[in-house]
């Protein structure tokens, strides 16, 4: 019990960073350079870059952007050549053993949108036999095919669609669609930090959790059908 009390005293009085990084990432970045790996994925690249630019500012750091594929960037992150990787990752990512994922800073649902409230009520009840437009070759198309008994209508671009469509929820306003209760999927989006760099992880998570509404705003602005 005595050493526990000692710990509390240390944490409270010294104001020392707790938890700390085994490899000192946060200390190095503060006033230095934040090395960020970016996989070019729309609309996430723009959203996450903006968030990290502001995050770097809170640490008086400049940002060095490194482009690459998700696999390349994760390998570099695991080898501590990068500090953060952004690639439109979600919490169910396969990288959970190679990298520490932040808490989700924005959650996106794939939903069925209807052109008007009456149709929305009908679709909320039952999708059977309904013709639902969906972007061809998208994860929403796959989900719609396997999880519902709607008639899937693949389209090249959602911009010209008049009827109901399966879309990520941040596109609903752009397309003038009304949200229905029919949800296909949900993804919590996160960024990746080097495993075990807990000071870095906690600092970034705090920053992101305070800006959930702002992140949502960025996403609505950047996401285009």
């Amino acid at each position: 019990m005595r050493w526990l009390a000692l710990l509390f005293v240390c944490v409270l009085t010294a104001g020392c960073q707790y938890p700390r990084d085994p490899e000192g990432t946060l200390d190095r970045v503060r006033g230095g350079t934040l090395r960020v790996g970016v996989a070019p994925v729309e609309p996430w690249e723009a959203v996450e870059k903006q968030l990290l630019r502001e995050f770097a500012r809170t640490l008086d750091a400049r940002v060095e952007w490194v482009e690459g594929s998700e696999s390349e960037l994760m390998a570099a992150l695991e080898g501590r050549r990068l500090d953060i990787v952004i690639a439109g990752l979600d919490r169910s990512s396969v990288w959970i053993k190679e990298a520490a994922l932040t808490r989700p800073y924005v959650t996106v649902q794939s939903v069925i949108g209807a052109p008007d409230p009456t149709t929305a009520r009908r679709l909320s009840d039952d999708l059977e036999g309904e013709r639902i437009a969906v972007e061809a070759h998208s994860p929403e198309a796959a989900k719609l095919e396997t999880d519902t008994d709607a008639v899937v209508v693949p389209v090249e671009s959602l911009a010209d669609v008049r009827g109901p469509a399966a879309v990520p929820d941040y596109l609903l306003d752009d397309l003038g669609l009304v949200r229905t209760d029919a949800e296909l999927d949900e993804h919590g989006h996160a960024m990746a930090v080097s495993l075990g760099e807990n000071a870095m992880l906690v600092t970034l998570e705090r920053f992101l959790l305070d800006r959930e509404a702002y992140a949502r705003e960025l996403l609505e602005r950047e996401g285009k059908p």
Binding site: L4, L7, Y18, P19, R20, D21, P22, G24, A100, T102, R103, V193, S194, L195, G196, E197, N198, A199, L201, V202, E205, R206, L209
Partner: protein, 327 residues
């Protein structure tokens, strides 16, 4: 002679026994709460995983005690002429094996993680809009899983001594391992906080060794019981005092020339069989045998299944089990 009964606890110990049963119910309820608390703060800490597994396995001995408690008072019947005392031993072996396997697993798993250089990440969590480092919640959960069990374990050790109950004693030992595990995991999590990534795995390995040692000790004891070894003290630290007392008593019977005294544990009572070669066969022999049986029974309530048989001679008896009558 009275047929060896199935009921075993003397009236003066009934209260102690009732308290033990109550305490075991309390243990089960408390452990469930600790298991839930640690489960929700588990994260990716090795030591936390160890503490959680240990809590989970700690449920076995109290449950075994409570189940055996329902069975062991049944009177002897046609199918089980020795009664149901040993129901406890089945439970004892199961609990000990679980402990052993878990300890080995924990060591292996943690050594691998340590060699791989895994840096455990512990991030933030949100509890009803309140942001907090998960490490603090881990520490709180570990304190809850360590401090009360320390007190419960102490009380159990005392009750187990009075009742000569091995399951209860193994359970108390498990509780000891439990709070030590909690303490080591606490050091591990706090270590991670200070940037010592290896603290967690090292703590888990230390925990693993402690658990393995207990598991090995009790597995061996349970196997010895199954092989009808002579009664040992509750904490397996040596021969039970009653072994000497019974031998002394038999040696003091002037009608016995030489006798083989065999004692073994039946659950938490002790069974005695004496093969006695009398100095002379006369009309009083039956009275003497009855008297000897009663005097052994009167030594202690634990001596319950006592048989004294008269034989003409003892061939090939190992010298160690023989008692020579004093004249």
């Amino acid at each position: 002679m009275r047929y060896p009964p199935g009921t075993e606890i003397p009236p003066e110990l009934r209260d102690v026994h009732r308290r033990a049963v109550r305490l075991e119910w309390l243990t089960v309820a408390y452990l469930l709460s600790a298991i839930v608390a640690i489960y929700f703060t588990l994260g990716s800490s090795q030591a936390m995983k160890g503490a959680w597994l240990e809590d989970l396995l700690s449920l076995l001995p109290p449950i075994a005690f409570l189940v055996a408690d329902r069975i062991r008072y049944r009177p002897p019947d046609k199918a089980f002429p020795y009664g149901y005392h040993r129901a406890v031993e089945v439970a004892f072996l199961a609990g000990a094996l679980a402990l052993l396997i878990m300890g080995v697993f924990l060591i292996g798993d943690s050594v691998l993680k340590l060699l791989a250089g895994d840096h455990p990440p512990i991030g933030m969590v949100e509890l009803f809009d309140w942001q907090v480092w998960l490490g603090w919640l881990m520490i709180a959960a570990l304190l809850w899983s360590a401090v009360p069990i320390l007190i419960i374990g102490r009380i159990k050790t005392r009750l187990a001594e009075q009742l000569h109950d091995k399951v209860l004693n193994a359970d108390a030992a498990m509780n000891r391992a439990d709070w030590m595990t909690g303490g080591a995991a606490l050091v591990g999590v706090i270590g991670i906080g200070f940037g010592l990534w290896w603290a967690d795995s090292v703590a888990a390995i230390v925990i693993g060794f402690d658990v393995t040692r207990d598991g090995w000790k009790y597995t061996r004891a349970a196997m010895a019981d199954l092989l009808d070894a002579r009664p040992r003290r509750l904490d397996e630290s040596g021969v039970h005092a009653l072994v000497g007392e019974v031998r002394e008593l038999v040696a003091g019977l002037d009608w016995i020339d030489v006798a083989a005294v065999r004692m073994r544990e039946l659950g938490h009572v002790i069974s005695v069989s004496v093969l006695a070669v009398p100095r002379a066969v006369d009309d009083d022999l039956l009275e003497r045998v009855e008297d000897a049986t009663q005097r052994i029974c009167a030594l202690d309530w634990k001596l319950q299944d006592v048989v004294v048989a008269v034989v003409r001679e003892l061939e090939d008896a190992p010298e160690d089990v023989l008692v020579h009558g004093r004249r």
